[in-house]
Symmetry: C2
Subunit: 342 residues, 2 copies
């Protein structure tokens, strides 16, 4: 078996990682942000900003879908493309049965691959997409993810009207959507490696402590990324996690330091960057749109301008459901990493 | 763009299809069935059968997870493999946040790619898996899906204790799980082509008419499969849909006949085959496990024995959620097809 593996898996490196030769490009990207996000430090970075969370739709779910559809069409437009030019649409989101993505796929009418890894959906999509392009199965892919504070609150927690008080370790689910066109050719930052995460569960049961729970997955994936590819943290200009928030970010740093990798000097987290402290988001932002808005809205542009050359993006997801929580289960978490260069 | 596309997408054929050269093999497969399934016409085909739906677990959700885990370990064992030999675990299921798959991935500790396309998850997994193997990104993959009547009923409809009476067009969600090891080498039926479905929505809003709703997606995917690959229905020994049931099967036949493809002579549906009429499943079986039990338990073995040489497997999924239904939305549907040969 081992010989067979070595023979066949020329692109797989180590236990969890892939190295790309052709390095698919992030040709164009777009972001659509909600009201709170549009008042934060990255306010000027988004392609569209809304002053309210329902944006003239009938429901928050419709508003989330509106945002994903808009992000998709904007990303296509920036790339000079139409849905017809796209081979596959890879998307996912937090809502039950990933309805935002599926209804968006209905509108786009592009062959559709639904994915789910909670808030690590963006990097799952990018990693899978890069494999499909590198493998010659597609020329252009559209990848999208979204979240909405009000749809997530009522699905995962309580109706917002209850005014439920959260502890300081809780995070604020980001309202917004991001979309990116991945291409086998063309300009833009390129995906040169990916590390697919394992599910990690430290026994944490408190859904208000997701940053801490997900820090274990982030640290596991980043550690295995370094081991698989024989890299040090300094290989990257920036390592950025998806939505660990302030507490999870610190935990991730600490775990990796104990494992021999000091990342604090070139490490940040999207959930820490998206809001000002006075915006009362407790430990920071979370949700699929957190990494989407901050990476695609902010760091992606810096990569385009070559202000950043090598970035490791590690979106992180908590894979529990309200049912598994109520049944006393702990929170399984995952993180997928993609290494980008420009 | 068009030239670029032609140049780069050597493996993509037409709008939605992929042709595989190396043709990844379904090395080993296993099925675990619930009580009703174990009293049906295929009772002797399953690797493990349970006489009740809770199988000594604390909840139906735990029981579903138990079945998926068992199917995975059985499939690995039949292939002479352990979780360590598997590069990626690709899985999905019907439950919110696909918890069955994610908790199973926690146990297996294999790098995990969560997917969701409702009851077409099996073929989404097979198609994606075949691309990852063909592209050289993996040597062995484990693909699994499951459903459970009691977890699905309470999530999508009513607690079973209510004794809700269903109309005759409703279907019975299958209790069970299936798992299959996909390999870049080795024996077993091989995946030689795949067609990725578009989301199709005929405006049907009744969640008790999912067979009819999904028949539109099945017909669309099968039609595009024939067009993309320039094939006729007679190319296949068997065309088998996932869970259209009696009503949806007839609708699918009728739509394709009107589009110029007469499939009725070599076409069947997993949801029609799984139960006896006296088992009171109304229009037939449904759920992710429907295609998994019938294809992996029954037709897969026939392919191994070369009693069937060419099979087109088209699992079908309804992508609505209880929320989208309650908000007055119609049911978006999808079908992914894989062409197998032995």
């Amino acid at each position: 078996l081992q010989e067979q593996k070595i023979l066949l898996k020329e692109k797989k490196v180590g236990k969890q990682s892939i190295l790309f030769e052709k390095k698919p490009a992030l040709l164009s990207a777009a972001t659509v942000a909600g009201p709170k996000e549009s008042l934060g430090p990255l306010a000027t970075e988004f392609d569209r900003s809304y002053a309210d969370t329902i944006i003239k739709e009938k429901s928050f779910e419709d508003a989330e879908r509106h945002m994903m559809e808009e992000a998709c069409y904007l990303a296509l437009g920036k790339g000079g493309l139409t849905p017809d030019d796209i081979d596959f649409f890879i998307a996912g989101n937090l809502l039950n049965q990933i309805i935002t993505s599926s209804f968006c796929a209905r509108k786009l009418s592009i062959p559709y691959l639904g994915v789910f890894s909670a808030c690590s959906t963006l990097t799952e999509g990018l990693a899978l997409g890069a494999m499909l392009l590198e493998g010659g199965f597609a020329g252009h892919l559209l990848i999208s993810t979204s979240s909405h504070n009000s749809t997530a609150e009522r699905q995962y927690r309580y109706p917002t009207e209850y005014g439920y008080q959260k502890p300081g370790c809780a995070q604020w689910t980001v309202t917004g959507a991001g979309a990116v066109v991945l291409s086998s050719t063309g300009g833009g930052p390129r995906i040169e490696a990916a590390t697919i995460g394992k599910v990690v569960d430290g026994g944490i049961k408190d859904p208000n402590s997701m940053g801490t729970a997900m820090s274990l997955a982030a640290a596991d994936t980043i550690y295995n990324h370094f081991i698989d590819l024989e890299r040090e943290p300094t290989y990257y200009d920036l390592i950025v996690t998806g939505d660990l928030g302030g507490i999870g970010k610190k935990a991730n740093e600490d775990i990796l330091a104990r494992k021999g990798f000091e990342i604090s000097s070139n490490y940040t987290d999207c959930g820490v960057l998206l809001y000002y402290p006075h915006q009362q988001v407790d430990a920071g932002g979370s949700g699929c749109a957190c990494a989407a808005l901050v990476f695609l809205g902010h760091f992606y542009k810096k990569m385009f301008k070559k202000e950043l050359r090598k970035v490791l993006l590690v979106a992180t997801g908590a894979l529990h459901s309200p049912t598994s929580y109520l049944q006393g289960e702990s929170i399984p978490t995952i993180a997928h990493a993609v290494s980008l260069e420009s």
